[in-house]
């Protein structure tokens, strides 16, 4: 069990930031993102401690997708966004003005991505933000690589038209 714990600890360190970012971009508040992300890793650890997981990244993203879907299906679906809930971006080496401008940019792109179809959102974030290959995405989505490539192209096109609208 100690070995499993040590392995999962490494998985946690490697993916916590990525999963949090993925979740944060899909929900409307930092608190919700934290809550969902901790649920993802709690479920991940419960499953990991009892069985072998071949691909932790695919496994965690799959749990994240399901947990986000459960969140939107559930009664606790958020209706409002806290006023003070600006994105908490890393501000190292940036002035307040630069941070504010960056924060605004992030909000714009986040809103635009949220306006896309769910599958397009996931594919764009995984490929361009988390540098996942088409093959890895195809495995997570359980779709042929060709389909993922087409969706990637269409997703980018849709994002472009949303941002230019």
């Amino acid at each position: 069990m100690d070995q499993k714990k040590a392995q999962f600890s490494r998985i946690y360190d490697e993916y916590i930031e990525k999963i949090y970012r993925f979740v944060y971009l899909k929900v409307s508040s930092k608190e919700t993102a934290e809550d969902i992300t901790s649920r993802v890793f709690l479920s991940g650890w419960q499953a990991y401690s009892s069985k072998e997981i071949n691909n932790p990244r695919a496994f965690l993203y799959q749990i994240a997708r399901n947990t986000i879907a459960d969140h939107y299906r559930g009664a606790d679906k958020e209706k409002t966004v806290p006023i003070d809930d600006a994105p908490h971006i890393a501000e190292k080496g940036k002035s307040i003005h630069e941070s504010a401008a960056l924060s605004a940019d992030i909000e714009i792109i986040k809103t635009a991505i949220l306006g896309l179809k769910k599958d397009y959102q996931d594919i764009l974030l995984w490929h361009y933000l988390e540098d996942m290959s088409v093959k890895e995405i195809a495995e997570i989505m359980e779709k042929p690589e060709g389909t993922v490539r087409v969706m990637l192209h269409r997703g980018l096109k849709s994002l472009k038209s949303v941002l230019e609208a």
């Binding site: 600890s9 944060y24 901790s38 890793f41 071949n54 971006i89 960056l102 940019d105 792109i109």
Partner: protein
Amino acid sequence: MQEKELISKIQALKEIKPNQQWVSSVKTNILGAAPAQETPARKGDYVWTMPGIISLIYGKRKLAYSFAVLLFVALGVYSFTNFYSLQQTQVANENATASLLALQAELQDNMKAFKEKSVNLAEVVKRDQTEKIDGAIQEAKVAVETLTDSIKKDPNLAKTVASEISNTKTYLSVIDDEDLKESSDDLLKTIDEQLIYDLEKATLTPDQQKSVEGIVHLVYEKKQYADGLESILMLNAELNAQEEETTIDQPEVKDQGNEQLGE
């Protein structure tokens, strides 16, 4: 807008990072071990050496002491603020974990009550204890409704009790009571819906996909929830067997996982 510009906008989202205190706190809560931290410097060393260093640089002992005190106070305030915020985060996460465990415990209790009341009803009917039948029906109905509420609170738990429910439901069919049937149908429908949702997300062969379509028809069109549950359990058993076969056929699975971890 050029494609490159669009991609760089998406990549700017990398600036989003979680709060590091929260990250450590969640890890501690999940894995139960204290997060790795650097060994803090001893206060004694810190207070005694700082004025010396500063006075060496500036040659002004008073200024050096004042600066050291100011630094010490600032560090104290900073540590207190961090400690308070960490405490708050830890409490929130402990509450979330505790509430999940409480839901699981509540479900198990309600499952136990459901089994007891169902068996009791079957026995009362079998012994023909007519004076006890109304009470037994009422108790079984309450147990069914409480269990349904438990599952609705966290539908992910449905899978853990589906098989037991399917085995127990037959006790309820010993008597033809409209209210009890309605409650029982609601319970089975709740379970069926969640399990169908899980199946729709699973990787299925074309035949299994066809079976799911049949189950969907049975549950949503024909409203035959008990038959639907049995079909779902059969399909789940097939999927589990298939998964076990895959695991046996691929002994190197563990190594692949470790390679992933080592990346």
